[in-house]
């Protein structure tokens, strides 16, 4: 249903642009597109929590940073096989997510936001205290990892590898949110009390999605370490956590594609504006406020509506007034 129809066509066009662009746009913009794909992946992991699980996390950058540090350290130690270092980076991030999630998910709402922020700051200062790894300055990687027969040193090749991984992550996440597990986390998001009342203990389900999202953020972090060949505590700063949330909100939460578009928009906006002023946030802030006040959902939602691909993902379209009218003569008890 989602692979065909207008929504499918829209996705196809976006993907085609992402594939076709780099050869024409030079190294600078290829690197820029790589950055978008990486932050898009991290923002998608935030969307899994914010949009699908109702968990507002302010600490996703920590997991992103842990992935970056893990990949970076392994590379410095000479483990440059991407098929080894990247999965290890994902694993380490998932373990961190397990520890952070196990504790912070015992709280809710505003407390949860603050607790995730607090843990992220702990990880941040821990990274800063690693003297052997440059402390606050971070460290550089001697080279990018290699992927069997493919050299990732070339920016265009690396971009395509990141793009393939991003597409795989989208497909995987799409599968997860539509699965039975996905239904449970969405149910918990809609109404945690009701979910418990029908028999789903909320905690373990929330913990598992937190760990999955942590793994995705970790992969994005590992890619970032390879992209920049540089890792520092800045990769796990709370500002980044906030920016990831902004990307999700800009792009449309609860959509998986939205956060990637949000990342593109956010980074492009910053790139252009910071040429004029270092106080680009002064312009970005009002834009974010306008988005929340004026538009029902973000960029992806607007695109979907503008192209008439407005059937909710996977949910059958219902002509609402007519359905209600028909229901008027189906009274309770009539069926028994």
């Amino acid at each position: 249903m989602t692979l065909f129809g207008r929504r499918g066509a829209l996705l196809f066009v976006l993907l085609a642009v992402a594939i076709a662009l780099p050869p024409y746009c030079g190294t600078y913009y290829t690197r820029f597109a790589t950055q978008i794909a990486i932050y898009g992946m991290a923002a998608l992991s935030v969307d899994l929590l914010l949009g699908y699980s109702g968990l507002i996390t302010f600490g996703q950058a920590a997991l992103f940073g842990v992935g970056a540090y893990a990949a970076g350290m392994l590379t410095v130690y000479g483990l440059t096989d991407a098929l080894l270092t990247w999965p290890l980076a994902i694993l380490v991030s998932m373990l961190f997510a397990l520890a952070i999630g196990a504790l912070s998910l015992r709280t809710r709402g505003f407390q949860f936001i603050m607790v995730t922020l607090a843990f992220a700051q702990m990880v941040y200062y821990f990274a800063q205290s690693l003297r052997n790894w440059g402390g606050d300055d971070g460290f550089t990687l001697p080279q990018r990892d290699s992927l069997k027969f493919i050299s990732l040193a070339d920016h265009t090749t690396f971009y395509y590898v990141v793009l393939v991984l991003l597409v795989l992550v989208v497909l995987l996440a799409n599968r997860i949110v539509k699965s039975e597990f996905g239904m449970v986390i969405r149910g918990i998001r809609d109404n945690e009390r009701r979910a418990a009342a029908v028999g789903f203990p909320p905690y373990p389900y929330k913990l598992v999605i937190f760990v999955i999202a942590g793994g995705i953020a970790g992969l994005a972090g590992a890619l970032m370490a390879n992209h920049a060949k540089f890792v520092s505590p800045a990769t796990m700063s709370w500002q980044l956590s906030g920016e990831l949330l902004a990307m999700v909100i800009l792009g449309s939460a609860n959509s998986l594609i939205g956060p990637i578009l949000g990342a593109a928009f956010f980074l492009a906006f910053r790139d252009v504006l910071s040429d004029f002023t270092e106080h680009w946030m002064l312009f970005f802030g009002p834009l974010l406020v306008a988005r929340v006040l004026l538009v029902k959902d973000g960029i992806w939602g607007m695109l979907v509506r503008a192209t008439g691909a407005d059937d909710k993902l996977g949910e059958p379209k219902v002509d609402f007034p007519e359905a209600l009218e028909r229901a008027a003569d189906s009274k309770p008890g009539a069926a028994k």
């Binding site: 597990f181 809609d190 028999g199 189906s330 008890g333 028994k336």
Partner: protein, 258 residues
Amino acid sequence: MSESLLEIEHLCKAFGALVATDGVTLAIRKGETHALIGPNGAGKTTLVGQLTGELRPDAGRIIFDGRDITELSTARRARLGLARSFQITSIFDSFTAEGNVALAVQATERHSFRFWKPAERIARLRQPARQLIADVGLSRLGNVIASKMSHGQHRQLELGMALATHPTMLLLDEPMAGLGIEESRAMSKLLASVKGQYTILLIEHDMDAVFSLADRITVLVGGRIVASGTADEIRNHPGVRVAYLGEEDDAGDVRANG
């Protein structure tokens, strides 16, 4: 006397100086429809909260199906067969009507850590859901997003969700709350159709419904049980008339038609 399914023993719960549940002891028999009535502030909601596990009692025990469930979580109790509907509509807003029920059906499985197959294509969830949606009279609304349905339809949907979990006992917290006369009558009919198949504890203000549906009635006032018995016994109980029905009411107002 037949066997009890739910036994409440000396249950107490206080909020500060306010004693909301004051030594309640009550046994619900297997298969009966037992109504719990009482004026506002009698402690009905607090009692329900303790039965579902959302509130921890200060003292006392709750035995369900021979098992002490006093310390169990809400989800565990639901899995043991104690299903509930909420006084204030409580559904999964962004799901379709059928999706709501399908998720409740899914809750009966041992766990839901299955990440691959799309839930909407799983027949063992969707088929019972479709059937239940029809059973509660919503067959034409299966694909409507729940948040767009009317209040009355939400109440029907809630009952469908409660039934979907294969319960042995239904805890219905004011299923008629906020319904119009027509809708109330329809809901009453619907409840009559499931009566006998499940053990039901019905908390309700609608006296027509209570006296027509309930096998036995318990009256709660100020956190205490003042009376418990059949509809006739309750109707003629002097203490109940004073405390709850109001002395000036004549028996005709609480007519029983069942």
